[in-house]
């Protein structure tokens, strides 16, 4: 019998509607003729639809945990709601009669087996094939083509325009960033699309949004944010110019592990990161926090998750970007309550908590051993983590915060503020970082306020905490937003 969890089904669903509809179909009893092969690898059912004949829906588990789903319905969505409904039927343990696997399924299995053998052969040709492919790729990448050089020059032009804008803003002062100057910023932001400069474009949009907030709502924090954005933009312009000029001069446009690659319009493919050797294998990751950040400057929702690598011990991040315009069509990521076993993950270049990605992962429940392992991996003292955070946060190009898992002796209060005390007696203020969740409504955001509501008092003593370390410039102080508390028995999430 195939073992399934609701989370696995949700992970397969293309969007929320399909999942909900699938659940509804299963509940309403629209399936009949449920059948299962003797070896439990193939499931089939007939589902009543809007047509006169029922749809034949099947799930083939012969390839492993991820089933091959098929349905005769005319929907272009894959998997369709009928397939998801069949999985719910399996999950709920409904009775399936024993049946023979249909011939067409057997043929398809055979065909897939043939293709897999071919791929294995290709891989099995071994290092030589890989080497020669890498060589070809390298040759291709190393060649300075006219088009690529032109692109670099276009980018440099865009950087010049951006620099000119920044200089004129600083000459006139932030106080004068309104009216015509603001319109100039908006126009440049649009123009930078043609200059392949998404990073500077995003920063200018952020500047514009803050300026508008200042005008519309009298937001007195807006000036500080705008200054921070300008510093970031200035640093990005300088570093990007240097980077691009070096490439142009050196005639080398191959991809390198520079964090500037994405800021300058690059999109990393999984295979490219593999080629650069930025991989980890047989990884076990436990998700400790998840939220969705509404990034108005990017015009995207960013599904953000913090994971702890049970082997390496660091905190890594996953990001899923969903443009506002495609909100209803793209499936959002969701919280994962389990250990993701991934045969291979790739890591994006950058400092702090690396962004990772994987193509497939199997989710298993978190065991007590896993939680004990997390506690072993947690940093034993606050001071080194804060120092590391300062070293990163002082760099204007670093996107705060820094996430760390660390041990604490207790959480208490000083005045009305929450404070964490590490085993060495060092303290840090616990407070929500503004903007961690982006443009979300204020009353919905934050996690610090949940601390006193935790139903178990032992959670405030001698545990581990995943926190986001950030710098409050106005207060001149380092702070931490608590995201979850890890104990031997549970992972108590404060955010989502």
């Amino acid at each position: 019998m195939a073992s399934l969890t609701e989370q696995q089904i949700a992970a397969l669903a293309p969007n929320e509607n399909a999942l909900s509809n699938g659940r509804g179909i299963s509940r309403s009893g629209d399936f009949s003729q449920l059948g299962r092969s003797a070896d439990g690898t193939f499931y089939q059912g007939e589902c009543r639809g809007s047509g006169s004949k029922p749809y034949i829906t099947s799930a083939d588990f012969s390839e492993g945990a991820s089933p091959v789903l098929r349905c005769t319905c005319p929907s272009r969505q894959h998997p369709c709601k009928h397939c998801l409904a069949l999985l719910f039927e399996i999950l709920e343990g409904k009775p399936f009669a024993e049946m023979e696997i249909p011939q067409d399924i057997l043929k398809k299995r055979a065909r897939r087996g043939g293709k897999a053998a071919e791929t294995a052969d290709e891989a099995g040709d071994g290092k030589e094939t890989k080497k020669s492919a890498a060589k070809k790729a390298s040759k291709k990448n190393a060649t300075t083509t006219a088009a690529q050089a032109k692109k670099l020059r276009t980018q440099l032009e865009g950087l010049e325009k951006t620099e000119a804008l920044v200089r004129s803003i600083m000459d006139g002062g932030l106080g004068s960033l309104n009216g015509a100057m603001l319109e100039t910023c908006r126009n440049l932001a649009k123009e930078l699309e043609n200059h392949y400069l998404p990073g500077p474009r995003r920063l200018i949009r952020r500047l514009v949004l803050d300026a508008e907030a200042r005008e519309a709502r009298g937001d007195d924090q807006a000036n500080d944010r705008m200054l921070g954005t300008l510093e970031k933009l200035w640093a990005l312009i300088r570093k990007s110019r240097q980077y691009l000029e070096e490439k142009l001069a050196g005639g080398v446009v191959e991809r390198d592990a520079s964090p500037l690659f994405e800021e300058l319009g690059g999109v990393w493919k999984f295979s490219e990161l593999e080629e650069l050797g930025l991989t980890r294998e047989n990884v076990r990751l436990v998700q400790l926090a998840f939220w969705v950040r509404q990034d108005d400057a990017r015009e995207e929702f960013v599904d953000t998750a913090c994971w702890a690598d049970l082997d390496k011990g660091d905190i890594v991040m996953t990001y899923g970007y969903r443009p506002f315009t495609l909100r209803k069509r793209l499936k959002a990521e969701d919280s994962t309550f389990g250990v993701a076993h991934a045969p291979k993950i790739v890591c994006y270049p950058g400092e702090g908590n690396p962004r990772v990605r994987w193509e497939s992962a199997d989710i298993q429940p978190v065991s007590e051993a896993d939680r004990r392992r997390l506690r072993e991996l947690a940093a034993p003292a606050l001071a080194p983590e804060v120092k590391a955070a300062k070293d990163l946060l002082k760099n204007p190009l670093f996107e705060p915060p820094l996430f760390r898992l660390l041990r604490f002796a207790r959480i208490g209060k000083v005045g009305e503020s929450f404070v964490l005390v590490d085993p060495q007696g060092d303290t840090i203020l616990l407070e929500d970082m503004p903007g961690l969740e982006g443009g979300i409504r204020k009353e919905l955001a934050g996690s610090t306020a949940w601390l006193p509501l935790l139903p178990d008092a032992t959670l405030w003593e001698d545990q581990c905490l995943l926190g986001a370390i950030w710098y409050d410039a106005a207060a001149g102080r380092m702070k931490m937003q608590p995201l979850s508390i890890v104990t031997d028995r549970a992972i108590a999430r404060l955010l989502y």
Binding site: S20, L230, K390, D426, E443
Partner: protein
């Protein structure tokens, strides 16, 4: 090392960024801050670098100041970051657990939680089923320690959503008390006001100390008003209420007076008596809904006497707007008052006959549905107000009065008299009185000619309410009254238990469900008044006349005992015949019925279905012929029949489609092919529904 000069310089650089790089050369404070950096420059090269940048900025001549300013700002901010404080000074105290209701930690995914939180705090029009009945949101989620907090936040949300949360919270009973009392802020807004209402509902008098304590803590605005309202449970609050009446202003003051009137205390009546000459309208508003002893009645009677006397004395006098409003307010205070003084007041008003009809129009109830909000002529209003009074407090004295006035004053008082008979007398006696008073013209006698509607509607319901309420009367009852027949709605003035309501058979509405609205308090009162005995069937027999209107038929349905098979059979036969008459053999109707207006006969099959009737043969075709196949009426009928008699519907529909294809039925407003497809699709849906049910 004292690094405060760094932060001062940083502040100056920020100010320079606001003003513009061009302003730096003349900025003395910036120059001063740079000089103060000297000790730090001597210690570390990085500070020297910062100092050099600032000196370049301040130099009278130079280019590229914008870039230099940015460099200086970046460096200053980076240095400030590295010097940021971490340790928290002060004595650490242990965490104090906050009160949370639920106490569960659950793995709830973001997709569910985020949606829940947003629903709680925004004014979304999402259907409540989305939240309360959502299968994704399991019951334990409402006890999850994070989400339970949002239940409170949802109280501040606008719109109907807050009401759903309120009723859900109230239904938790005493359990919810910690969640509501924890962190209560008497100076808070909407959320706090709702918390008080729910506590009032759940705990009543048991929380009297809480209400008093919060008032003493300086509660204000809506919260204060609710706390004062909650004092009504305990008569020991009279002295406090008297004090509040003297000191409060605005809505809290109005509420304090209103609650004081409920205390039925000699001190309270003395206060109102003293107040009456100067603030008569306020006193009358306070007496709305109150059912005190005779004192309340005397006050109202006295005030009405005073207000009507000038109009009675001078037949030509037209009351001005203020006088009309004063009289209206005194009128609204009448229900609930009994005693000789009030009865005498009714007699005097009844004796005036039609003499004030041209000069005074009054409402008998303060809801604003038309046409009643425009008021009735005085004579009619008095009769209707007596009916309201009997509904408010069924009283033998008022019943006797109504009977007396029926004989001596006007047959309009039949309405309150029969209302009282139904509530206070055996069923047979009530019917025989009706037969005597409404015969020989039958039950159509006593019609209020101003509106020309069924008199029965006036006996059982007001006319406009009848149109709106009959079809929903059962649902309305279930929605508004719990198993002990007490109002479950939080925005309704809750009755004391010894008031209303006996056991009620839900198979038939055997009582009245009046409600009143207090404009001054923005609150309503709902009660259920059961008939003394189940209705005598002769009422329904008398209504089964050929000229019965849809209003009467609907009333019959409302009054029918659905558990009585013979009653149901007789009614169904009557409705069937009535419907056939209305369909007039399929003769096309003279006018089209727009979507907001259904032909009268169309609801009948639903009533028949509820009464167990199964023979709907032939009605579909007749309806199509009369109203058109693709008309709104036709569409409505199709959907109703598909639901109540699917098998008959399928058979008849096949036949009708055949007639349509042969051209023997007119598609009316659309093309034949499209209509056929639509009907076939609907038939397919009906078949599927039947299969699912089987």
């Amino acid at each position: 090392m004292d690094i405060s000069p760094l932060f001062v310089l940083r502040q100056r650089l920020h100010a320079a960024a606001l003003a513009g790089a061009a302003s730096c050369p003349g900025d003395a404070r910036l120059a001063q801050a740079c000089e103060a950096l000297a000790p730090l420059e001597a210690v570390a090269p990085v500070f020297r670098k910062l100092g050099d940048l600032v000196r370049t900025l301040c130099a009278p001549e130079g280019e590229g100041r914008a870039a230099v300013l940015l460099e200086a700002l970046t460096l200053a901010d980076a240095l400030a970051c590295t010097q940021a404080a971490v340790a928290v000074p002060g004595e650490l105290r242990p965490m104090e657990p906050a009160v949370s209701w639920g106490g569960l930690m659950a793995d709830i995914p973001h997709s569910v939680q985020a949606s829940f939180r947003e629903d709680m705090v925004t004014a979304r029009k999402s259907s409540p089923e989305r939240l309360w009945a959502s299968p994704e949101l399991r019951p334990e989620f409402f006890r999850e320690y994070r989400l339970s907090g949002f239940l409170r936040k949802g109280l501040a949300a606008q719109g109907g959503y807050a009401k759903d949360i309120v009723e859900w919270l109230g239904a938790r009973g005493e359990d919810i008390r910690p969640l509501l009392e924890d962190g209560f802020d008497p100076r808070g807004g909407k959320e706090m006001a709702w918390r008080v209402k729910i506590l009032d509902w759940v705990r009543g008098a048991a929380a009297n100390d809480f209400y008093c304590a919060q008032l003493d803590r300086g509660a204000r605005a809506a919260v204060r008003t609710e706390l004062i309202y909650a004092l009504r449970h305990d008569r020991g609050n009279t002295a406090r209420l008297l004090e509040l009446c003297r000191t409060e202003k605005g809505k809290p003051a109005a509420m304090a007076h209103w609650v004081l009137a409920r205390m039925d205390d000699p001190a309270a009546w003395a206060y109102f008596r003293a107040l009456l000459p100067n603030q008569p309208r306020q006193v009358m508003a306070s007496l709305e809904f109150a059912c005190g002893g005779q004192e309340a009645g005397e006050l109202v009677a006295q005030e009405l006497e005073r207000l009507l006397a000038p109009l009675v004395a001078d037949a030509a006098r037209i009351p001005d707007e203020k006088e009309v409003q004063d009289i209206q307010q005194a009128f609204f205070a009448l229900p609930g008052k009994t005693g000789p003084a009030v009865c005498e007041s009714y007699r005097r008003m009844a004796a005036l006959g039609t003499s004030l009809d041209d000069r005074l129009r009054l409402r008998h109830n303060s809801y604003n549905w038309k046409p009643d909000c425009e008021g009735f002529s005085f004579q009619i209003a008095v009769a209707l107000m007596l009916r309201e009074a009997i509904l408010r407090q069924p009283d033998e004295g008022l019943l006797a009065l109504a009977g007396e006035l029926t004989e001596s004053a006007s047959d309009l008082f039949v309405i309150p008299y029969l209302t009282g008979m139904l509530l206070l007398r055996p069923a047979a006696e009530a019917y025989e009185a009706a037969e005597r008073l409404l015969a020989p013209e039958g039950f159509a006698r006593g019609t209020l000619t101003e509106y020309g509607n069924d008199a029965l509607c006036r006996i059982f319901f007001d006319v406009e309410l009848s149109h709106a309420r009959y079809s929903r009367s059962r649902g309305y009852f279930d929605q508004n009254f719990g198993p002990d027949n007490r109002s479950t709605r939080l925005d309704t003035y809750r009755q004391d238990p010894d008031w209303a309501v006996g056991k009620m058979e839900k198979r038939a509405c055997r009582g009245f469900m009046p409600w009143w609205w207090s404009e001054s308090l923005e609150r309503r009162l709902s009660v259920f008044r059961p008939f003394a005995e189940p209705l005598d069937f002769r009422w329904l027999e008398a209504m089964m006349v050929p000229e019965a209107t849809v209003v009467t038929c609907r009333l019959m349905f409302w009054l029918a005992d659905l558990g009585d098979a013979s009653c149901c059979a007789r009614l169904s036969r009557f409705w069937h015949a009535w419907m056939l008459k209305g369909l007039d053999g399929g003769k096309p109707a003279e006018r089209a019925y727009p979507p907001f207006m259904l032909p009268e006969v169309l609801p009948a099959p639903a009533w028949m279905y509820c009464c167990g009737w199964t023979d709907f043969t032939g009605l579909l075709e007749l309806c199509f012929r009369r109203f058109g196949m693709s008309s709104f009426a036709g569409d409505f009928f199709v959907r109703m029949m598909g639901h109540i008699a699917p098998q008959t519907f399928l058979e008849e529909m096949e036949h009708c489609l055949e007639l349509l294809r042969r051209g023997e039925l007119d598609p009316t407003y659309t093309r034949k092919e499209g209509l056929c497809r639509r009907m076939e699709q609907y038939m397919s849906d009906v078949r599927r529904g039947m299969a699912a049910r089987s």
